[in-house]
């Protein structure tokens, strides 16, 4: 397949793996922040190509994993209100709230539909004025522009039956939180799709303030291996910076049009990240001008705020302090069929990925 096979070329991969082996002179720990990278690393068997001194740990970049349990509770409560249809990304269906998941709510009769985009959710609202369609807006700078454009479109169409339950988050503050929290890492594999929007400049504080190596990379095996090689060289040369390996998609300034839409619709706010707590300026909220689309304002949502009582260590895993296999629940109580924490639910979650690809290794 064009534009894919070139980046999965076995010869090139073996050459890169060889170069990594030659360049690695000690132990290195790199955090891949983005859940898409976690999934790609394990799907392509990247760890089996690396020398033992190189450790890749997963960060907080799976949108589902960092979605607070209270948010799921709010969605479930909304889904049972009269006339409400929740149109959600499929990943969210099985995430456990403090009492049940959307999937369970659907089985009990709530109208919950899976969509591939915010736009598709708006389409449902426009085609049936009797429904009140709520779109759970989750994700980082990658999905936020899509929500922004959809809100603007809904505004233009005068759609008064489309709402957003917003939980958008932004990545750089969470990365800073992880560094400050004392995670022992030598560098970041910076998120690819987030960087397409923000540009590489959003991560320049990492080498400048904290002296950590940083490379923005794509999702193909040659991308990831090239990034690891570039990180090793930054560490070896004591020359941290933000390098763009993913230069077919990422620039220093990013997608300014998408940024403009985001700024039009959203403003910065503090946000609750599951496992990490409240992160200052870690989220986005709808601006006052668009509050009629805010499901949190337009509906009366009542939920009892019970954090799930579990020994799940998702928080430590998202910070890179622990690996999934260090959790006592992993693969015994907590499995993809019966997830205790969100990291086991999403295909991009660290625990789910470890379970799928490394169990009993």
């Amino acid at each position: 397949m064009k534009y894919v096979d070139e980046f999965r070329d076995r010869k090139l991969i073996m050459h890169l793996a060889d170069q990594i082996r030659r360049s690695a002179t000690g132990d290195y720990t790199f955090m891949e922040v983005c859940g898409g990278h976690t999934a790609a690393i394990h799907r392509f068997g990247i760890p089996s190509l690396l020398p033992p001194g190189i450790r890749l740990i997963s960060g907080p970049g799976c949108p589902v994993c960092v979605t607070a349990a209270a948010y799921i509770d709010q969605l479930i409560s909304l889904s049972f209100q009269k006339g409400v249809t929740v149109a959600t990304f499929g990943d969210l269906m099985r995430v456990p709230g403090s009492a049940g998941s959307l999937s369970e709510a659907r089985a009990e009769g709530a109208d919950i539909r899976v969509v591939l985009s915010a736009y598709e959710a708006l389409g449902i609202a426009l085609s049936d004025k009797n429904l009140k369609v709520v779109f759970p807006a989750i994700g980082f700078e990658t999905t936020a522009p899509g929500t922004a454009v959809t809100v603007l479109k809904a505004d233009g169409e005068g759609a008064d039956n489309f709402f957003v339950l917003n939980a958008h988050k932004v990545m750089p503050p969470a990365m800073e939180e992880i560094i400050k929290g004392g995670s022992k890492i030598d560098g970041f594999i910076c998120p690819g799709h987030v960087s397409v929007i923000t540009g590489s400049s959003a991560f320049e504080f990492i080498p400048r303030k904290y002296g950590l190596a940083s490379v923005i990379t794509g999702f193909e095996p040659t991308d990831i291996l090239s990034a690891i090689l570039m990180l090793i060289r930054q560490v070896n040369n004591h020359d941290p910076g933000v390098e763009i390996q993913y230069n077919r998609a990422v620039t220093r300034t990013g997608n300014t049009k998408a940024q403009k839409y985001m700024n039009e619709v959203f403003e910065s706010c503090d946000a609750a990240w599951r496992g990490l707590g409240i992160i200052t300026s870690g989220g986005l909220k709808l601006r006052e001008k668009y509050k009629s689309f805010n499901a949190g304002v337009s509906f009366d949502i009542e939920v009892a705020h019970n954090e799930p009582d579990t020994m799940c260590i998702c928080g430590d895993i998202l910070r890179g302090i622990s690996t999934p296999s260090e959790c006592t629940l992993f693969a015994s109580v907590c499995t993809p069929d019966h997830p205790s924490g969100a990291c086991m639910v999403s295909a991009e979650g660290a625990c789910n990925t470890y379970f799928k690809y490394h169990l009993h290794e």
């Binding site: 076995r10 073996m14 068997g45 089996s48 190509l49 490394h358 009993h360 290794e361």
Partner: protein, 335 residues
């Protein structure tokens, strides 16, 4: 107005009788007297017996419909057990308001597929439920096949040993991707049709010409990932496949890249994976490639002595990973 199914078509009275005659008996070639049971002559000691329900949505899709699927699926379940499919029973649960012309289309394609596969639809049942109590039409088919005595080891994989080659009869996943594309208004065309097909002739050819078939499984829900993990759980060996050898079609790979699916977990309705003795594999491959249903057959991996009970994928990059049983739901109701 088009003729529609009403509750009285399921009442058991005259309308039921008329519907059965005007649609099912006509297409399936059933003759009077229509008794409570079909009487079947069974020439061998062992028969294979299977049943499956079909609830696919949409009921008509590129490359087939729920009726064709209901025949192929049951034929294939029998064929991969090493049996010659012989007789099928078909039961219909129909929602009030269903168009009779659609029922005719479904019955006609069932009759066509049964003829292609060389089996007879012998008996059946029809129920009509109130609007909203089922989604348009559900079909259950049960099938009986005649098992040759020397093939009874196939369904359990009793003869499998390390070194056996794994062969697939064509690109997997087309059925599920076709259904995904027909269910959703994707903003692009997916140039695919379902692979839905009866495989009994292909399989019979292989069994007639080689004693080297050690196991067969048709790839339905869960795709290769499910079929291979089920096999790994049944035997005391491991399984290794090379992802680069699995002949996925580009639209399938493309859609998986966009939507984030693992193509190894996608369902087919006309694909079989065969474990073949190493010294017979080439011959079996040649036989398969000479049949229209196996033109794109290829060897995708082998049975290994290492990692018993586990399926390992050599990724296209040369890295290795475990392939686990798929969990959760990709998409509701694909068959």
């Amino acid at each position: 107005m088009n003729e529609k199914i009403t509750l009285s078509h399921g009442s058991g009275g005259r309308q039921t009788h008329d519907l059965i005659h005007s649609v099912f008996a006509k297409h399936f070639g059933m003759k009077e007297p229509m008794t409570d049971s079909a009487l079947l002559a069974v020439p061998y000691e062992m028969i294979a017996f299977t049943t499956d329900s079909y609830v696919v949505n949409p009921i008509f899709f590129p490359g087939g419909n729920i009726g064709k699927l209901a025949i192929c699926g049951t034929v294939n379940d029998l064929a991969v057990s090493g049996a010659d499919p012989a007789y099928i029973a078909a039961s219909f649960i129909i929602e009030e308001g269903f168009e009779i012309s659609d029922l005719e289309r479904i019955a006609a394609s069932m009759a066509d597929e049964a003829e292609t596969a060389g089996i007879k639809i012998m008996t059946g049942d029809t129920k009509v439920v109130e609007k909203g109590h089922c989604d348009r039409i559900f079909i259950t088919t049960s099938g009986v096949g005649i098992l040759r005595n020397d093939q009874s080891h196939i369904s359990s994989g009793a003869h499998i040993k390390a070194g056996d080659r794994l062969i697939i009869n064509g690109p997997p996943g087309n059925h599920e991707v076709t259904i995904i594309a027909s269910r959703r208004q994707l903003a692009f065309d997916v140039p695919l049709t379902s692979d839905c097909a009866s495989l009994n002739h292909l399989i019979k050819k292989v069994l007639d010409q080689s004693p080297g078939v050690h196991f067969m499984r048709d790839l339905t829900r869960g795709g290769l990932a499910a079929a291979l993990n089920e096999l790994a759980g049944m035997i005391s060996c491991g399984i290794m496949i090379d992802e680069a050898l699995v002949p996925f079609e580009e639209p399938v790979r493309g859609l998986c890249e966009i939507l984030g699916f693992d193509p190894l977990t996608l369902a087919s309705e006309g694909r079989v994976v065969i474990a073949a003795a190493a010294d017979e594999a080439q011959k079996i491959l040649n036989v398969m490639r000479s049949d229209p249903a196996g033109r794109d057959s290829s060897v995708i991996g082998e049975i290994t002595a290492e990692k018993p009970g586990r399926v390992i994928v050599k990724s296209s990059t040369g890295g290795r990973r475990f392939l686990d049983m798929p969990s959760g739901l990709l998409l509701p109701r694909i068959c």
